[in-house]
């Protein structure tokens, strides 16, 4: 069956002339598919809005409060995890210093004394070892070698002082 132009008229939903209406009515009496389209048009146009159950707003306010509470809990735990992580990192980085700081004053005093005595005895040992080496070396190194070593050392010392003065003058001149 040819549905044109009746189907187009029904789909367009524009006002029809009385002649078009008559033609459409005649077509609808014989065409089931166009009748279904017309019925759907009517059903859609008379369809009513369905209201929600009573107290919708109160239920919404409850849901909003619950959502806010959940959001607050999420925020709290998020901040808690962040702060806890930062504190753990800070603790890990400062633990050696903290352990030192929390010792008793006597322990700290003993550590200082031990360190100072270690430095002192080390210096004594180095001095003693140096004097022994010098005494032993003086017996088998000839005098002219000593003179040469001291002369070269003095020369290098002079060169070092001269070069420093030169660089110092250059810096001032610039």
């Amino acid at each position: 069956m040819n549905h044109r132009p009746f189907e187009d008229w029904l789909l367009a939903e524009e006002p029809l002339t009385s002649e078009q209406k008559t033609d459409l009515q005649a077509h609808l009496r014989t065409c089931a598919s166009c009748t279904a389209l017309a019925e759907v048009n009517v059903a859609l146009r008379v369809a009513k809005s369905v209201p929600p159950a009573p107290e919708f707003n109160a239920r919404f306010q409850s849901r909003l409060a619950a959502r806010r509470s959940a959001q607050r809990r999420r925020n709290f735990w998020g901040i808690f995890v962040l702060v806890a992580s930062a504190m753990a990192l800070l603790l890990w980085l400062t633990l050696p210093y903290l352990l030192w700081a929390i010792r008793s004053p006597m322990e700290v005093f003993i550590t200082w004394i031990t360190t100072l005595s270690f430095i002192f005895t080390s210096l004594l040992a180095y001095g003693w070892a140096g004097s022994v080496i010098l005494r032993v070396a003086s017996d088998f190194i000839p005098t002219y070698i000593w003179v040469t070593i001291f002369a070269l050392t003095g020369l290098f010392g002079l060169l070092w002082v001269a070069s420093i003065r030169k660089f110092a003058n250059l810096t001032e001149g610039a």
Binding site: L11, T35, A36, L37, N41, A43, L44, K48, P51, L64
Partner: protein, 199 residues
């Protein structure tokens, strides 16, 4: 300034009472849209509540130059479309749902019991065939016929082009007519005197 705009501005400033007023005004349109889209009272209630929550959370983004109704119904329509698409993935049968959730339509303006029964049957049938439509087509039909949205407003609400809306509305109505015919293969329209004409 209208009262509604005043509530919107106050809501944007964090006044919950003002937003509660908006909920009161728009609860039926939003619920009805969700009900027509999802087809079940429980799902519609949940979707309507969720739509209002989303509107509440995004109220600062609302452009006051636009229609609040269009914006709010757009949120609800998008939410329902997403929900229907997720539902399709979980393979829930629409036909099974029809049996479990028969339509409950209040009809305060019934002229007589016969008319009421006929209208209820027709509305139940419409509700059933509406659920056979694809989600976006269904949203377009609901916005067009229940809210008198223009094609431009539907396009704006559903993020479509106007030509796409026209095409979807035509296709959807053809599909509805086909399903309608399948539901009542031998019936013809018997329009009551008080009903709107089809053409």
């Amino acid at each position: 300034m209208t009262e509604e705009m005043d509530w919107i501005i106050q809501s944007q400033q964090g006044n919950d009472e003002a937003f509660a007023q908006l909920v009161t005004v728009y609860q039926t349109p939003v619920y009805n849209l969700c009900y027509r889209m999802l087809g079940e009272p429980e799902a519609a209630e949940d979707a309507a509540q969720e739509s209002f929550l989303r509107a509440y959370q995004n109220i600062l983004r609302f452009d006051r130059q636009r229609s609040f109704a269009t914006w709010l119904l757009s949120i609800a329509a998008h939410y329902c479309i997403d929900r229907l698409r997720r539902r399709r993935f979980t393979s829930i049968s629409i036909d099974d749902d029809d049996e479990e959730h028969p339509m409950e339509l209040p009809d305060q303006s019934a002229l007589n019991p016969e008319t009421e029964t006929a209208r209820r049957e027709e509305q139940e049938q419409l509700h059933k065939v509406l659920r056979s439509l694809e989600a976006t087509d269904r949203a377009a039909i609901v916005l067009r016929y229940w809210y008198d949205f223009s094609e431009v407003e539907i396009a704006e609400s559903l993020s479509l082009t106007v030509s796409a809306v026209k095409s979807r509305l035509h296709r959807a109505r053809r599909e509805l007519a086909k399903r309608w015919q399948e539901e009542q293969p031998h019936s013809h329209l018997e329009r009551s005197p008080h009903e709107s004409p089809a053409f």
